[in-house]
Symmetry: C2
């Protein structure tokens, strides 16, 4: 099978140069012609700082037009972009930078502080946007094609082991993801997609790719603000919005008695299971919510509830996009309807694996099937219901928070003997982490001391909202932490021995 296709921005420029590619918050419109020109000029400057084919280039930026041109520039240079989460700590960023074998860090000027740890060891590899913009342009031969099997992006996802893993996504993965999404959502001439989710997440990045394939404007904002989102929907003709539950809740709360215009045809809801009351109130207001299920490893949504089923299957994540596959599996084989098991997915949008993590790849794949670690069941018509977004995973404001990662930081603290973390319900963020800590004998470590330490190690959204000091943690015979018991403790179902 042919594995080269026309370079996607070149192709889109050839087809519809004068169509809007990006519309910014201030209503500035950038055509595909301009986007291509700016991206090629950016590529020439990046070439100037020494970036070559197959280099891994880390990018640390909040959503901005400049960020978009850098992402496209790297495709022209045939380099791989490592997208860094701006909410991570300097130490976390250093881990991802080194683990991904990046040889350049391009960062937004005001994020310089985040690069502190990287700077200690790789100062000469760091370039802020304004430095890049002053760089002399070095011309290069514009590639006519991209190879579907080349790695376009590496995005880190924390594993349950606590070590973030770099998810490699090829151009082919992204291409299939975008075309599969169109087969489900349809493709209308007036489509405009609102991107208020971060481009460093696959949820945001995938919107950029769809824009190229569809010739569709992306309304790009630095971040989510409820008034801006309402304006985009009410006045700017946005037809599709990518949201997570916490965003949708704020929109609903702000909507009051108003309703959305008919131009809005899809609220694509990702980032974990949504509270049923929210879905029901959207249903009452005729808001077209499409629940979906996906992850970095699947190039965004791989299972989506299509429009004709949105109302009759409330709470379901839907069915796998054409031509992806889904199965639910327990140790004893494939499940019957309503039996909960692990969710496995397969399809051309699924990652070929984690970067240099053969251990994780062996664990995560059964031939070409990705073992998501998430639990779910199918109803008798084959619709997926996600029971638990990964065993133990906490989703806080759309961000994945892995208990094991926080636990390992807690255990670094002198005076802490053991630690267990679980997520509790939170009105604002959906979930927040709380920690159970066992102190070492005769050591008087305080909450303040613990939080102080975590602050230097982890992003603020990973900070436990409460710390319980206990005499011991519930563990099974093989010493595995029983998080279900911790959850019962938080709910007062069972008591624990306070320390």
């Amino acid at each position: 099978m042919l594995t080269y296709i026309a370079h996607w921005l070149e192709k889109r420029y050839d087809l519809t140069p004068d169509r809007t590619a990006i519309q910014l918050k201030d209503r500035t419109k950038i055509t595909f012609r301009q986007l291509r020109k700016d991206s090629i000029e950016m590529a020439e400057r990046l070439k100037g700082i020494g970036i070559s084919s197959y280099d891994h280039v880390a990018l640390l930026s909040k959503n901005s037009y400049e960020m978009v041109t850098i992402i496209h520039a790297l495709t022209y240079l045939q380099a791989t972009v490592v997208l860094l989460n701006t909410r991570l700590t300097s130490k976390e960023l250093l881990f991802q930078y080194e683990n991904s074998e990046s040889c350049f860090l391009i960062f937004q000027d005001d994020l310089k502080g985040k690069g502190e740890e990287i700077e200690k060891q790789h100062a000469d590899e760091m370039f802020c946007f304004s430095t890049v913009n002053q760089q002399e342009q070095v011309s290069f031969s514009i590639p006519a094609e991209i190879a579907l099997d080349d790695t376009f992006t590496i995005i880190y996802t924390s594993g349950t082991t606590g070590f973030p893993k770099g998810v490699q996504l090829t151009y082919g993965n992204h291409y299939w993801s975008a075309s599969s999404s169109a087969l489900n959502l349809g493709l209308y001439e007036n489509d405009r997609w609102l991107a208020m989710v971060p481009l460093f997440h696959v949820s945001g990045l995938s919107i950029l790719v769809r824009s190229l394939l569809y010739g569709m404007p992306v309304h790009l904002h630095e971040s989510f603000h409820v008034e801006d989102a309402q304006r985009e929907i009410m006045e700017e003709g946005v037809t599709i919005v990518s949201v997570v539950s916490v965003m949708l809740e704020q929109l609903m709360a702000d909507l009051h008695e108003k309703s959305y215009p008919e131009t809005l045809r899809c609220m694509l809801l990702g980032g974990g299971p949504a509270p049923k009351p929210l879905l029901e109130s959207c249903k009452e207001k005729n808001i077209p919510v499409f629940q979906s299920y996906g992850m970095t490893e699947t190039s965004s949504q791989i299972i989506t509830l299509s429009s004709q089923d949105a109302l009759k299957k409330l709470g379901s994540a839907g069915k796998p996009l054409f031509p992806a596959q889904l199965r639910i599996e327990q140790e004893n084989g494939i499940n019957q309807p309503y039996e909960v098991g692990e969710i496995l997915v397969k399809g051309p949008m699924v990652t070929k694996g984690y970067f240099k993590r053969e251990d994780a790849n062996e664990k995560s794949f059964d031939q070409d099937w990705l073992k998501t670690g998430d639990l779910g069941y199918l109803d008798e018509e084959g619709y997926l219901y996600v029971v638990d977004r990964r065993k133990d995973l906490i989703i806080s404001g759309g961000e994945n928070v892995y208990p094991a990662e926080i636990e390992s930081v807690l255990k670094e603290i002198e005076g802490v003997q053991d630690a267990g973390v679980v997520g509790i319900e939170d009105d604002k963020w959906g979930q927040v982490p709380v920690a159970f800590v066992v102190r070492r004998e005769n050591q008087s470590v305080t909450s303040g001391r613990i939080l102080e330490h975590i602050q230097t190690q982890l992003a603020s959204y990973k900070m436990p909202k409460r710390i319980y000091f206990v005499k011991s943690l519930p563990r099974n015979a093989s010493k595995k932490l029983l998080r279900t018991t911790l959850l019962e403790w938080t709910k007062g179902i069972h008591n624990y021995d306070e320390d």
Copy 2:
């Protein structure tokens, strides 16, 4: 890259079982659930007659629901379908049957006579529909997947050498073709595609594949009738119609002062260049004609004029579909705008090659670029204008007629020394072939004798509309026939020596 996807009919059945897959002329509606059931039962009967994986199975049928179920049944059995043109003679069919290494011929009952030559040598491999329907069902394990690299169809196309070649198209070729078409035409929830073109041509077959990917009803007719087409557009909500010029002309002639409803959003015009007056009158009547360029080798359209350009680029075939590529080439390199050269195309919808025709494959490909043999040029914005649909090729009512093929039959006739064929304009068919014949000395072969012979060898649309007897044919130094001179003779620009 992953090369297995969910079996496309299984997948579509899973997604939208109750949506209409096929609507027949009598308004009968068949859901995807029913289509799947009927196709699997058909597969069980075909299994019963002995068809196994990777068998080549020839299918001779006019458009019918039964034909559709057989095509899908063969995908369940993982066999390759060889689609035979019902307009061919018995001898032509024998050639294709044997050349494709088919081991079964499934034919519509009333086409028995067409199988006469095949029957002489392969009687036990022939099964008419009613025999198949009486066959006992043999159950088999329904494949969950299809391999993108497996050959789905073989469709014969005549070459300029006169020997038809079997174009192999994989599932991947067809998949990309359908998804690329959607990226250009868009994908609307109310889409319904009218198929009055033959399913044994790639133009018709590709509509079936789109139906699976899009979950879209196909309005299937045995053949083109102007009143039926008008009814489908006016009353049945058809949004897209595949047409060739001769069909479009009849529709226009019949439309008079009426206009089409807004539901009709695309007349996809293929099968050769269209007369400009026709395009202009469509423009006047606001009929959304999308000119396109493609061939069996490209799984149908590969270059299409998109809606926003349809009016400003009248006469152009447009730009290559996302993510295909196009270049115009002469011997001295790539061309400048408006310079005519050979059209080369590349993309994942392009055939991997002709079946067991290494000679032709070597000639037809420059790495992964298909040398179409057609002539065209690009304007300064990169829009393709096809100058000559293959040098010498005659397109008559949407069917390809290759002069060399007719010439070789003419030369078989005792008393014929030399023959040359060219196409002339025809009000009804667009083009029709005419023949120049040089008689052997002292032999008195007549037009009647010649036509009688051709009738037994070639489809009726290949029959020369006129035979000129001449003393000699114009040939260049290397004895190559100068067809441009023949064309001048037909127009009376130069005179020839009548015999």
